[in-house]
Amino acid sequence: MSANVTDPIIVLENVDKFFGPFQALKNVSLSVRKGEKIVVCGPSGSGKSTMIRCINRLEEHNSGTIIVNGHELTDKTNDIDAVRSEIGMVFQSFNLFPHMTVLRNLMLAPRLVRKTNKVEAEALARQYLERVRIPEQADKYPIQLSGGQQQRVAIARALCMKPEVMLFDEPTSALDPEMISEVLDVMVDLAREGMTMICVTHEMGFARSVADKVVFMDGGEIVEVAGPTEFFESPRNERTKLFLSQILAH
C-alpha cells in the first residue's frame, strides 16, 4: 500500500459526536493532505476542540469515519497508542508534567514509546529545545517557566515524537498578550518546514499568513471552508460574517 503525497493524511467523513443527548459534532467532514495547514475557528462551544480531540481519539466519535495516517479509528483500534504517537497535540493549558524537568518532559515519550536510548533521547530533546528557542531551560521544572515558555516546551515535547501531524487547540488562548508572538513564531517556523497542522485558533494574523484552508465551525457543524484570502475578504455564510465582524472588532 503506497501512499501518494496528495493522499489525505486525515479524513473525517460524516462524523457525529454526542455527549449524552447533546450533539457536539454534526455530520462533520474534513480532509487534510500531507503538509497542509488548517486553521479552525468559530465561537466558543462550536465543537472545535471536540473535532480535533476525535482525531487522536481523546474523544470517541459515535458515527461516521475517521482515518488517520491510514488507520481507521474505531472501538477495535487496538493500536491506538501507536496511532497517537504519530500525532502531536498541543493543549491550551500546556499540560506539562509538573513533577519532571523540562528535559524529562521531552524525553519521556521517546524513551517509553519509541524505546529510544537515554543518550539519544536527551540529544533529541536538546535539539528541539533549541528549535523552540529555550535550550537554557532544560533543567527547570515547568512551574519555573513563563506561560509562553511552557507552551514552547509543550510544542517541543510533541515534536520529539517526530509526528506526522500536529494538532493545536487554542495554544495561545491562556497566554498573556506579550507571550503570544513567541509561541506563534515557533508555529510559523513549523509551518514553513512543511509540518501538517490543524490549529484551532483565533489568531487571524496567523491564519492569514500560514493557513491553506480556514474552517469555520458553528453549532457543531462545519459551516464554511475557504482559503484565507477568500475567508477573510469574501465570506459566504452569514454566520461566518457575523463571527468575523465580532472577532475583528477587537
Binding site: L58, M89, H99, L112, V113, Y141
Partner: protein, 229 residues
C-alpha cells in the same frame, strides 16, 4: 491528688520495653495495609464493576465498624472457623500478635485505599490526556504520571492515617499483648496509680506522633521539590 514522680521515673523504662512491640505492630501493619490498600485502589479504579463493587463493600465494612470489634472478631472469631484452622494462615492467627497485625492491616488498608484514591482523582485530567496524546499506554501513564503526583497529593492524609494506626496499636493490649499500653495496664493494676502511668504513656505516644509527622514532612518536601518557584 499527689503526683508520684518516682513512680513515673520508675515505670517509663518499663513501658519502653513495649516500644519494640508497638513499633513492630505499627510497621508491619502499615506495610501490609499499604499493600492491601494498593490492591483495593486498583480494584476501585479498574472500571470493572466486579472488582470495584467488592472493594467498595470491603471499604464500607471496615471503615464503618469499630476497630476494636474487628480485632475481637479476628482474635475470638476466626479460631472458631474450621477452614481457617486448616489454612496456611493458622500459624499467624493462632498468635495474638498475628491477630493484631492482621486486624490492624485490614482496617488501615480500607482507609488508606481511599486516601490513595483521593490522590489519584486529584491528578489533573489534562496530564492524562497529554500522556495519551504522546502515545503512552494506560499502564505507562499510571506509573510515570499518575503515581508520583497522586503520592504527593496523598502524603498529608496518609501521614494522619499512620498516626492513627500508631494509636490503634494500643488496642492490641486488649488481646493480651504487652505492647506499651499492655505494660502500662499491668503497672496500673499493680500500683493503682493510673494518672502517673497513663499520662507518661500519653507523652510517649505524643513523641512518636511528632516523629512520624516530621518524617512525613521531610518526605512531602522531597516529593514537592518541583512545586517551588
Amino acid at each position: 491528688m499527689s503526683f508520684d514522680v518516682a513512680l513515673i521515673v520508675d515505670s517509663i523504662p518499663k513501658m519502653l520495653m513495649g516500644l519494640g512491640l508497638t513499633l513492630q505492630l505499627l510497621i508491619l501493619s502499615a506495610v501490609l495495609g499499604l499493600l492491601l490498600a494498593t490492591v483495593l485502589l486498583l480494584m476501585r479504579i479498574s472500571g470493572k464493576w466486579y472488582l470495584d463493587l467488592p472493594a467498595q463493600a470491603y471499604i464500607y465494612v471496615f471503615r464503618g465498624t469499630p476497630i476494636l470489634v474487628q480485632i475481637f472478631i479476628v482474635y475470638y472469631g476466626f479460631p472458631q472457623l474450621g477452614f481457617i484452622r486448616d489454612s496456611f494462615l493458622w500459624p499467624i492467627l493462632r498468635e495474638p500478635f498475628g491477630c493484631a497485625v492482621v486486624a490492624l492491616s485490614l482496617n488501615t488498608g480500607a482507609y488508606v485505599s481511599e486516601i490513595l484514591r483521593g490522590g489519584v482523582l486529584g491528578v489533573d485530567r489534562g496530564l492524562h490526556e497529554a500522556g495519551s496524546a504522546l502515545g503512552l499506554s494506560a499502564h505507562q501513564r499510571f506509573i510515570y504520571i499518575t503515581t508520583p503526583l497522586a503520592v504527593r497529593l496523598a502524603i498529608p492524609a496518609y501521614s494522619n492515617d499512620v498516626v492513627s494506626l500508631m494509636k490503634s496499636t494500643a488496642l492490641a493490649s486488649t488481646i493480651t499483648l504487652l505492647d506499651m499500653m499492655g505494660i502500662a495496664r499491668t503497672i496500673v493494676a499493680e500500683t493503682y496509680a493510673p494518672y502517673e502511668i497513663f499520662i507518661s504513656l500519653a507523652v510517649i505516644y505524643l513523641i512518636m506522633t511528632w516523629f512520624i509527622q516530621k518524617a512525613f514532612g521531610v518526605f512531602e518536601r522531597f516529593m514537592s521539590r518541583h512545586e517551588r518557584q
